[in-house]
């Protein structure tokens, strides 16, 4: 219970401290230390009457200690004292969480650094927790976070919302970071890897928070709807032994109905009033899949129409790939295969294994078993995901058996 409260307060505390002292880097460390102190003291001493004020007071003390240490290193002790707030200084009431979020998603940072810093400063996670989710040592993650803060400072990032003329572009980066965070966690995982699923839930929490702060932004709502509609399938995505279950074979009764409902309603409302955007279109596609009681009931012409819109609005190799699947379902596998032609050797398509897997699937639909087997094997060699590799090898194996033992007519007598 405390952890949830602490993580909700984390960006507010950081914002209050950073705004008063203008030192985002030190304020971020001080806030982490205050969170750790709270996690240690509150269970024994009880939650203080004003938890936010308590955290801000502790973080401020830690920040002043850090400023003093820095000043004595610099032999400029007066700096520390000029920056010390007067006793009893007011704690600002405004919620500057959005400012923290924009700063963490500063365009000068690489996506892994944006993700790490956002999870720590906005999500209130420790470096150790983030490191565990990304499978790197804690020291690697701690360095990534501190380097990210230094990079922001070098790039002249100040503790203020971006100017109006940069706001749309900067919001785009924020949404992309939340999307990447979700994707990192949106994985079918087995046993000990549960922490990655928590990453998806954290992305949903932060996107929900962003939506509360920016209720008028259609793409924020679209991204939240997309996450909800996708995450609702998480329980059906893998069999008990950890094997991936493709969308067409999932047990739709085990999808999370409440999450689907929330996502579907959200995207419906948003589409009717906001300017169209890529996240809204992807959410709309997810909603079409969610509406179908069985895979065979999927409204593929509608899915294709939405992919056409997405292709026009935000063309990318991934959109081309997914559109080809819808095209195959509407106009047949040959049409789908033709739609993939432009993608071969496209260096922008990071997941070349998905191209191979989709091509194999379409060859299988077209009855070209040999090409399908070769395609699944090619895809299995290209993937770096163990469950995907297992799945793809099983597909190749299944078809190879069919080639070697063609189904024979049942004998009578």
């Amino acid at each position: 219970m405390n952890e949830r409260l602490l993580r909700e307060l984390a960006p507010q505390v950081l914002a209050a401290v950073a705004r008063r002292h203008g030192r985002f880097d030190l304020a971020e460390d001080a806030t982490q230390e205050a969170l750790i102190a709270a996690a240690q003291q509150w269970p024994a001493e009880g939650v203080p009457a004003n938890p936010r004020g308590w955290l801000i007071a502790v973080a401020t003390h830690r920040l002043i200690d850090a400023l003093r240490a820095e000043a004595s290193r610099n032999r400029r002790e007066e700096v520390a004292f000029t920056q010390e707030p007067p006793p009893g200084a007011d704690v600002p009431d405004e919620d500057d969480t959005l400012t923290v979020l924009f700063l963490c998603c500063h365009p000068a940072l690489s996506p892994p650094s944006q993700l790490a810093l956002t999870l720590r400063a906005v999500g209130g996670l420790t470096s150790a927790q983030i490191a565990a989710a990304f499978l790197v040592p804690e020291a690697t993650m701690a360095q990534r976070v501190s380097r990210a803060k230094a990079t922001i400072a070098d790039a002249g990032g100040r503790f203020a919302l971006p100017p109006d003329d940069q706001r749309a572009a900067r919001l785009g980066v924020v949404l992309h970071v939340l999307y990447l965070m979700f994707n990192e966690g949106y994985t079918a995982t087995s046993g000990e890897r549960l922490q990655r699923r928590e990453l998806a839930l954290e992305a949903i929490r932060l996107t929900r928070m962003t939506r509360e702060l920016l209720p008028g932004e259609g793409e924020v709502a679209g991204l939240l709807a997309l996450m909800l509609l996708t995450q609702a399938r998480s329980g059906a995505r893998e069999s008990p032994d950890g094997t991936l279950v493709p969308l067409a074979e999932q047990d739709r009764l085990s999808w999370d109905g409440a999450m689907l409902e929330e996502g579907a309603q959200l995207i419906q409302q948003t589409l009717s009033r906001a300017p169209l955007g890529p996240y809204q279109l992807q959410a709309a596609i997810a909603a079409v899949h969610a509406e179908a009681p069985t895979a065979a009931d999927t409204d593929w012409p509608q899915v294709l129409k939405l992919y056409d819109l997405l292709h026009a609005l935000a063309p990318s190799p991934v959109v081309t790939l997914n559109r080809a699947v819808a095209l195959a379902m509407v106009d047949g596998p040959r049409a789908g295969l033709a739609g993939l032609d432009t993608l071969s050797g496209d260096r922008r398509l990071a997941s070349q294994h998905r191209l191979a897997a989709v091509r194999a699937h379409l060859h299988e639909m077209a009855g070209d078993t040999q090409a399908a087997v070769a395609g699944y094997e090619d895809a299995a060699r290209r993937t770096t995901s163990i469950p995907e590799q297992r799945y793809l090898r099983a597909q190749a194996e299944r078809l190879r058996d069919d080639v070697e033992d063609p189904p024979t007519a049942p004998t009578t007598g």
Partner: protein
């Protein structure tokens, strides 16, 4: 994305280098490790003892055999590895190309497998 960068060296050629040249190589590698640690891309890495000291083991029908030496008489042998966590495959290639051994011998860049995956 996590990659292992396998460092291959020609053992004979390495022995033939002057101490000064070796120091330059070692320093260049140390500088890269320091830089990658600062960026938060360094996951880990080690240098390996000389390939002539390698032992190989096989188990056949429950019988364990241990033999001296590497499997093959190759001129280039595995001399060390680095594991990096980077934003793009290009970045892994860039780091490998900067590693000093790449100028003399070669680096092999291999993606690490992971336990997650998507269903479609």
């Amino acid at each position: 994305m996590r990659y292992i960068l396998l460092i291959y060296q020609n053992t004979e050629a390495w022995k033939g280098l002057s101490q000064e040249d070796k120091d330059v190589l070692m320093h260049a590698a140390g500088d890269i490790v320091e830089e990658l640690s600062a960026t938060g891309e360094w996951v880990g890495g080690e240098g390996l003892a000389d390939a002539s000291q390698a032992r190989s083991t096989r188990v056949r029908d429950g019988v364990v055999t241990v033999t001296d030496g590497p499997f093959l008489e190759a001129k280039e042998a595995l001399a060390g590895y680095c594991i990096v966590d980077v934003a793009t495959p290009r970045r892994a290639e860039e780091i490998a190309a900067r590693w000093p051994d790449a100028q003399h011998w070669g680096m092999e860049i291999r993606a690490l497998m992971h336990g997650g995956g998507k269903e479609d």
